[in-house]
C-alpha cells in the first residue's frame, strides 16, 4: 500500500496550477482533499506520475449566493458545507447530505468539487448536482473557462466530461424557494459507508400540488440516476403520501441496478421503494 513514484507540485495560483496541468495532462492528477485519490494511489489503482496539489491556490474555498444561484467553490470541505448557514431548502439539503459523507475526519479533508470530479455513483454530491441540474465551472490554461451542465458532466463510472487539462473550480446550484421540499435518504450497512442506495428528492409543492419534481438516485446506475418515471408520476399531481409511494414504485421499475457483495438488483429496487418516500418525508420534517 505504497504509491508508485510521482512528482509532487504545489502551485500557489490557479494560473500556475493550470500551466502545470497543461504540460502533461495525461500523466497528471489534481490533489485536493485526497480522500479518494490517495487510497487509490496506495492501492496502485491509480498511478499518476505528477500530482498537482491545489491546496494553496487562493479563492477555491467557500460558498456564496448571488441572485438565485449558490456558488460552491470546488475546494470547499464537506465539513464546511455541513456547517453552511444558508436559509431555506437548499441549505437544508446540503447540510443533510453532508452528514452522510464518510466520517468526520473524511469530511474535514475531502472536498465538494473533488467528490463531483471523481464521479462515484454513490457520492452524495454527485446526487445533489444531478438532482438540481448543477453547473460546473471548469478552467483550462489554453481555453479558459467554460460551464458544463450536470446532465453532460457525469458520463460513466468515474468518468466526467472534464478534459484532462481542466480544473473544476466551482459548482453552481439554484437557490430553491420556500415552496420547495428537499430531502435525502440513504441506506448503508454501517454509518459512514457509501450508500448502497441513496435517494435525493426536491419537490416544488405549490398549494398542495407538485409543480415540479426532481428525483435522483444513487447506487442504481453507473452515474447518478434522475428518475424520469418518478418525476412524471409526481409532476402536476396533488401531493399525497400515496402519490409518493407510486413514484417510488415507478422509480423501482425504471432502474436497472447492478449486483455486488452489498446487495443484488432486486434488493436495490426494494431500497428505492423504501428510500424515495423517506427522502421526501425527511424534507417535510419527519422520518
Amino acid at each position: 500500500m505504497k504509491p508508485s513514484p510521482f512528482e509532487y507540485h504545489r502551485p500557489e495560483s490557479l494560473e500556475e496550477a493550470l500551466g502545470m496541468l497543461a504540460r502533461d495532462p495525461d500523466e497528471s492528477k489534481v490533489l485536493a482533499g485526497g480522500q479518494s485519490l490517495v487510497p487509490m494511489m496506495n492501492f496502485r489503482l491509480a498511478s499518476p506520475t505528477r500530482l498537482i496539489d491545489i491546496n494553496r491556490v487562493p479563492d477555491l474555498e467557500g460558498m456564496s449566493v448571488s441572485g438565485d444561484r449558490l456558488r460552491v467553490a470546488a475546494r470547499t470541505r464537506h465539513i464546511d458545507v455541513q456547517r453552511n448557514e444558508l436559509p431555506g431548502p437548499l441549505g437544508e439539503l446540503l447540510r443533510e447530505a453532508a452528514g452522510h459523507v464518510g466520517h468526520l475526519p473524511i469530511r474535514t479533508r475531502g472536498t465538494f468539487g473533488g467528490s463531483i470530479a471523481h464521479c462515484d455513483a454513490a457520492s452524495e454530491w454527485c446526487q445533489v448536482a444531478a438532482l438540481l441540474d448543477a453547473e460546473m465551472t471548469v478552467v483550462s490554461a489554453s481555453r479558459g473557462e467554460r460551464t458544463i451542465q450536470a446532465a453532460d458532466f457525469f458520463q460513466s463510472i468515474f468518468t466526467t466530461s472534464l478534459e484532462l487539462d481542466e480544473i473544476l473550480v466551482a459548482v453552481t446550484l439554484p437557490v430553491l424557494g420556500e415552496t420547495w421540499v428537499t430531502g435525502i435518504a440513504e441506506f448503508a450497512r454501517r454509518a459512514g459507508d457509501f450508500g448502497i442506495v441513496t435517494a435525493t428528492t426536491a419537490l416544488n409543492i405549490v398549494e398542495g400540488v407538485v409543480a415540479e419534481a426532481r428525483i435522483s438516485l444513487g447506487g442504481v446506475h453507473e452515474i447518478p440516476f434522475r428518475s424520469e418515471a418518478a418525476e412524471t408520476v409526481l409532476a402536476g399531481q396533488a401531493f399525497t403520501p400515496e402519490l409518493v409511494v407510486a413514484a417510488a414504485e415507478a422509480a423501482a421499475d425504471e432502474v436497472d441496478p447492478p449486483s455486488d457483495v452489498h446487495g443484488d438488483a432486486d434488493y436495490r429496487r426494494d431500497l428505492v421503494r423504501a428510500l424515495l418516500p423517506r427522502a421526501v418525508r425527511s424534507g417535510m420534517g419527519a422520518t
Binding site: F43, F187, D260, V261, G263, D270
Partner: protein, 787 residues
Amino acid sequence: MIGDRARRIEDPVLLRGAGRFAADTVRSGELHMRVVRSPVAHGRIVKVDVSQALLLDGVVTAWTFDDIAELPAIGFRLTPRPELIPYRQPVLARREVRYVGEPVAVVFATSAYLAEDGAELVDVEIEPGQAHLQADTEPIPWIDAEQATWASNTGDQVAAQDSEATTFVEEYGDIDAAFAKADRLVKKGTHRVFTTEARIGRHTAVPMECRGLVASYDESDQLLVVDGAAKVPFWNREAIAAMVGLPPHRVVVRETHVGGGFGPRGELYPEDVLVTVAAMRLRRPIKWIEDRQEHLVATNHSRGQHHRIQALVRVEDGFIEAMDAEFFLDQGAYVRTHGATVASLTASMLPGPYVIPHFRARARVRLTHKTPAGTYRSPGRYEGTFARERLVDTIARELGLDPATVRRTNFIPADKMPFERPIQAMGTHLVHDSGDYALLLDKVSERFDFPGIRAEVEGRRAQGELVGFGFGYFVEKSGIGPFEGARVAVDGAGQVTISCGASSVGQGVDTVLAQVVADGLQISHEPIRVVRGRTDLFEYGRGAFATRLAVMAGSAAAIATEALAEKARRVAAHEFKVSFEEVELVEGGVEVRENRAQRLTLGEIAQLLEPMNAAAMKEEPGFSADGWFRTDHMTYPYGLHAAVVSIDRETGHLAIERFIVGYDVGRALNPTLVEGQITGGVAQGIGGAVYEEFLYSEDGTPLCTTFMDYLIPTVREMPDVEILLTEDAPSPLNPLGVKGAGEGGTTAVAAAIGSAVDDALRIPGAITSVPIRPLLLRRLVDQVSIP
C-alpha cells in the same frame, strides 16, 4: 487488590504514544521485504521472473521458490494429526498456486516504496486451473504424490491426496444404539428426531495492527534478533531456529507492543520465515510490515463451517437423548500451524452445557482454493454454539416448550460437577471443572428482567414492529496447560519485577499479573515492572492463546509470590532472631508480630540478600522466587448471551438494540478488564453474525479485500453491552479459582442474534446461517404472517 478495578499499568506508555509496535522498530541499514502474491486462486506456475525487479535501483535481491527450495513446509504448533502433514504450506508457492494471495516471490529493497515498485516488476505467469470453493461437496483430487511427498518431508513416498485433509469422530455413549431405538420411540410418541443445519460464514480477526516482523543478525553477539513477535514467541524461536539452521540459544525472539491478536496474529507464517532467513543470508536487518489488503488475503481466515445435526429428543420435556453431528470445515488451501485445532474444538465443545448422554460429532476438514484458515477468538465454539443453540431453539418451538425450560432440562446439574465428558479437548480430558448453569440463567434473567423485556417486545409487536428477543447459552474453555512460570524479584530499592513466559496481545496481562503479585505482597501494583514475551529473559513460555494466561501465568505468579513472601519472612526472622512463625508480611514489609517496630521493608530484605550476606543466612543470593503452575486440565467458564433486535421491514436493516452477557469466570482478577474483554468479544461476534464474510467470485477471486467490502462493526453499530459477571463457580483447578475471560464475549453472539431474529420475524428456524444480511431479512419480511 485481586478483584479490584485496578488501572492498567500498560496504559501510560500507550496513551502517550510511546509504545513500540512492530513497525516502530527501525534498524540502520534495514531492507524492506515485499511479497509478490498470486493473483489467481488456482493454477500451474509457468514462470516467475524477477530479473526486471533486480534492475530497479534500490532492489537488493528477489527470491522465488527455487531460491529457498531447501526450506521445508511450515510445521504444526497444535493438534498435529499426521494425516495433515502433506497439506502443509511451502514458504513460497511450489509449482502450483492454491489461493489468491499465496506468496510466489519476495523482493528486498532499501525502502518499502522501492520494494513495492520492485514487486510490481516481477513477472508472474500462471496457467489458471479450476477453482474449488465448496467444502461441503464431494472431495476432489487435491495434491499429487510428488507434492505430498515433498510436503511430508520424511523421505518416504506419500500418495496423492484428496481435498478432505482429515475426518475424525469425537464421541461418547452409544449413538448408534440410541438411534437404533429411535424409530420405535418416535412411533410410541415419546420422542422425536430433529434435523437442523447451520452455516457460519468465513471471517476472521482484523487486529488494528497488521502483522509485522523485523529480524537482524548481530555478528558481535552471534545472535539472530527477531522483533515484533506476538502470541507464541517461545514456540516461534524453536521454529525459526530450525528454519534458519541456528541452535535456539542463538535466536532471540522479542515481543513488542501488539495491537491485537485474536488468534491469527503471531502464528508462524511464510512471511516470518522469509524475514528471518533473509536476515541470515543477506546479513542485513529485514523488515516486513503487512498492509491491510495483504492482511485480508494472507493472514489466517477462520470459521467457515457447515453443520448438520440430528437429535433424538424426549417430547415431554425436550431432553436431548442423543446428538449426531457432522460438520464441514472450509480449511482453505493449506493446513497451517493450528493443524486440526479448530475442528477438534468444534467437535469436543459441541455438547456445550448439556448432558446429552449419547453424542457423536464427525469432523470433515476440507481444502478449498481460499486463504488458509486457523483459529479466531472462540474457535469452534462460536460455530458450534450457533449450531447447537439453533437446534435447542428448534426443539423448544416444535415441542411448544419455553426455550429457557428446555435448556434447564438439559443442563449438566450443579451437583454433578466436576462433570467428565469422556472426550478430548485440545489433547486434554474434557472435565467441566465447576459450574451452576441454571443459577446463572436465573441471575441474568432476574438482573435484566427477562419477563419485562419479553413483555415490552410483545407490546411493540402489537404495534406492528418487527422486534424480537432471544438468547444462547454456552460453555467456554480456558487455561490450557501444560505449564507456565513466573519469577518475582525485588531489588534493593524495594521495586518489584515479574519475569515470565507470558505474552501480551493487548489484553492487560501485565496489569493482572501485577495485581496478583501486589496482592500477595500487599503493595501497590502500579510500579511493578512486568517482563514477558522475551525469549532471552525467561526460559519457557507457552504463549497467549486459548484464554490461558490469567489461569496459567496468574497462578504461577501467585505461587512465586508465596515463595518470595516465605523467603522474606525467613530473612526477617533471621535478622530479628525470632522464629519464622513470629513474623508476618504486612504492606510490603515483614514485621515481628509482637513488636511491630521490628520491621524490614522488601528493599531492606533485598539488601540483606546480597551474595556474601545471603551465604551467612544459608539463603540463595538475591531476593527472588520462581513459581511454576502445571495442569493437565482446562477450566470451563460459561455464560449466556441475549439480544433484543428489531428489523426494518422496508430495508431489512437489523438493529441490535440491546445485548446482554452473563458470564461466570470463577473469579474476576480485574472486573474492568474482564468487561473490556467481553465487550470487545461481543463486537467481533456481531461482526460474524451480521457484517463480516469473505466472499469469492466463481473463479476464486476474493471480493472482500478492503474495509469497504469487508465490513467490521464500528462503535456506531455497537449496542452498549450489558454485563453481569458472576463468581459462583471458582475453578478448583488453580490457586486463584480463576477461569479465562478472553473469549466468552464472542461465543454465543451469533446464536443469540439468530434466536432474536427468528423471534422478531416469528418465522421459526428462519435463520440457519450467519452473517445475517439485510438482503436476506428483506426477503424474509415478505413471509411474515403477522400484521
